[in-house]
Assembly symmetry: C2
Homo-oligomer: 468 residues x 2
Amino acid sequence: MTEVNRDQLLAKLRLELGSNAVLSGHELPARNRTDWSFLPNAEPLAVVRPASTEEVATTLKLCHEAGIPVTPQGGLTGLCGGARPLDGGIALSLERLHGIEALDPVGMTITVRSGTPLETVQKAADDAGLFFSLDLGARGSCAIGGNLSTNAGGNRVIRYGMARDLVLGLEAVTMDGTVITMMNRMIKNNAGYDLKQLFLGSEGTLGVITRTVLRLHPKPGCVQAALCVVAGYEQVLALLESARRSLGPLLSAFEVMWADYWRLYADRVPGARPPVSLGSGSHVVLIEMQGLDEVIDGGRFSVWLEDMFEKGTVVDGAVSRSLADLQAFWTTRDAAAEFANPDVAGPHISFDVGLPVGRMDEFASRSSVALSETLGCRSVYYGHVGDGNLHVVAWVKGAVTQPLPAVSDVVYRIVRELDGTVSAEHGIGTLKKPYLGYSRSPVEIDLMRRLKSCMDPKGLLNPGKVFD
Amino acid sequence: MTEVNRDQLLAKLRLELGSNAVLSGHELPARNRTDWSFLPNAEPLAVVRPASTEEVATTLKLCHEAGIPVTPQGGLTGLCGGARPLDGGIALSLERLHGIEALDPVGMTITVRSGTPLETVQKAADDAGLFFSLDLGARGSCAIGGNLSTNAGGNRVIRYGMARDLVLGLEAVTMDGTVITMMNRMIKNNAGYDLKQLFLGSEGTLGVITRTVLRLHPKPGCVQAALCVVAGYEQVLALLESARRSLGPLLSAFEVMWADYWRLYADRVPGARPPVSLGSGSHVVLIEMQGLDEVIDGGRFSVWLEDMFEKGTVVDGAVSRSLADLQAFWTTRDAAAEFANPDVAGPHISFDVGLPVGRMDEFASRSSVALSETLGCRSVYYGHVGDGNLHVVAWVKGAVTQPLPAVSDVVYRIVRELDGTVSAEHGIGTLKKPYLGYSRSPVEIDLMRRLKSCMDPKGLLNPGKVFD
């Protein structure tokens, strides 16, 4: 495309959307040049900030006609490069398309524009005496549209499911500017294909999400947690099995920290105050229950925990007596965010692999040994074990640049051998593209390509993401 | 296609699959000529019964080459004609592709071939001390592949979701014979597009489901139910809101029977023994709780119900004291299956519409009056109100043929006006095709057509279903 055509496109966009919606040259905000993947800054032609579905459609239509690629952007908190724009392309920021449109307390739904931060949705539900269950560390920055287009997971999947499971209705715009409005508000709707699924988890490559109807839940009556030290992975599995049976759907988190993780946290994170001591234990498990009633379910939780002690499944532990305890317990799990501190691990590589629950410990052992022996690389393991999702933090101490490809090769090779997935919750973006074939077959990837061609024949919507 | 080509296709199929897998002429079983939609029998060329995924692929490939349409068939219990074959086409029965392949008690998954009856899956889970939550009246006859391809709903959606929500992995074959194996066993997997969604709820028009990995849950520790008489729809909503708060995720069913339904059941169904009396009440509500512990949760249930009485939300009611009570309560709801008895309603037309919960009573009133005034048609209303799904049974007493199009026009016109859906759980098939546009926009239907062309360019897989 020539310089003149580019200028014409920007002029048309400014005419249709207004000058303040089209930022280029020295006005182009630095933050829109990449996302939280640490990939280098891109040089997009412009950042376009539509304030309505119609403006999104106009932008896509004009770019489609001009043959200019478009990268949708939400809160830019993605870790895999999915929202990093192309050099010379358009970054389509949804930040001005924000706000709550409606909240239905009877149908327990909330209707939201896609640029709305997750925390705003959580707060609106809370103000109405209800609960929006999706939750993750970047809640204040990430946008709901990004959560949906990456099918975000987070802390309470074991009870409420992933982002996909919370979506009743959706509106999306395809690259040719067609607005597909599917703002269903009902739990059950089998009238024709469930088209919204196309746009959930496809990382903005098939359409741009503009609005959504989300499912709300009743607010929990009480929350209790325990930190349990166990003496082997078999005990982790026994504890999970018992928690599922005894707490049933009240179980809202089952997070496991392997011994190396715990030591790194307890010994190195500044200000760490471990509520339990690992001793000769192998894992620390954070169990959370969202109950209905403090007396009934609080009692149930304590009795169950005592039984786990008596049976020897748990060798040491602490149970929350206050909100402060609850926060202190979660701090041990959230401490992973502090590992970038040079006094802890420093620059490192993170993974969000998925594995059959029964094989997670085998994975952690094999990965730890292989990384250490082949690359002199340290690694620690923790994650949402109840959901089959394990996080790995790996680093070569003192390396000028962390050896991302070599570490990825080792980790993903073992994932493949154990029938796991290279991404449980963060998505593929650009960083994991070389490894998509470790978890998906050529037939599957071919079908993904056919869908992409069907929905975006010119290949202009978020190109180069998920697969080439 | 000429007679000779047809004979060649059958000969090839017999060669590849064996003679007993290809039934034509006088061997063609009567049951495969239609489904439970009461549509007239079709005259298919043959019924083909593959016993493996490979045989399904071979069948589709040969039919694709020959240009012969194929209609997949599971248990043939669908109510909308989705499994009725085409005259001169192939009925692809999955009945021989059955059986449990694996059950993982740690990961809580079961791997099943698509021709397996739902009840067999339920029983296998139960035998392993676990619970498969999908349940519907035709459990002994329907096949799991049909449940998935129609995204079946049923009795416990309020707690566990629909069929779609229970599927972790899937294998499907497209019309050209390509086998797409996506047998994921993990709750979280964001590695690329979630392709299995294409085959769930698309009524066998995009691919034939051959195998699946399903999610299991812990077996409930106790089950309790109550039948509650209320004096207005506002009280139904108040009861639902309170049940959601006080029972939370333990609430496993919230079924409502409108007064006319209850009277038809209580006064006309032979052997009816109503456990409560309607009196001047407006609705009877069946509430079921799946608890964890008889003492703790049974007590919780009783205390909550007493509170509902004291507040006046419930004016009369009964609570289950035994399994026999539980069954007796469900009998009042399952009595709808007896309405075809000439002493009750006789031949009738059934609907499975979906509506925002707050507007269901408005719908029932308007529909009842409109049907009566314009067509002299009686109608009764009941359904899964907690899920936004209402069933309608409508009939013109003594009519030689029930006026399906006229009744449908009236019912679906009101559904459209109230932003509802023409199918909450049964699907579109052929019967509801004229009304798909009442719930989905031309843009949505156009996208469905594009997907269909992308997956099945020759239009040979279950043609004429969902849309033309």
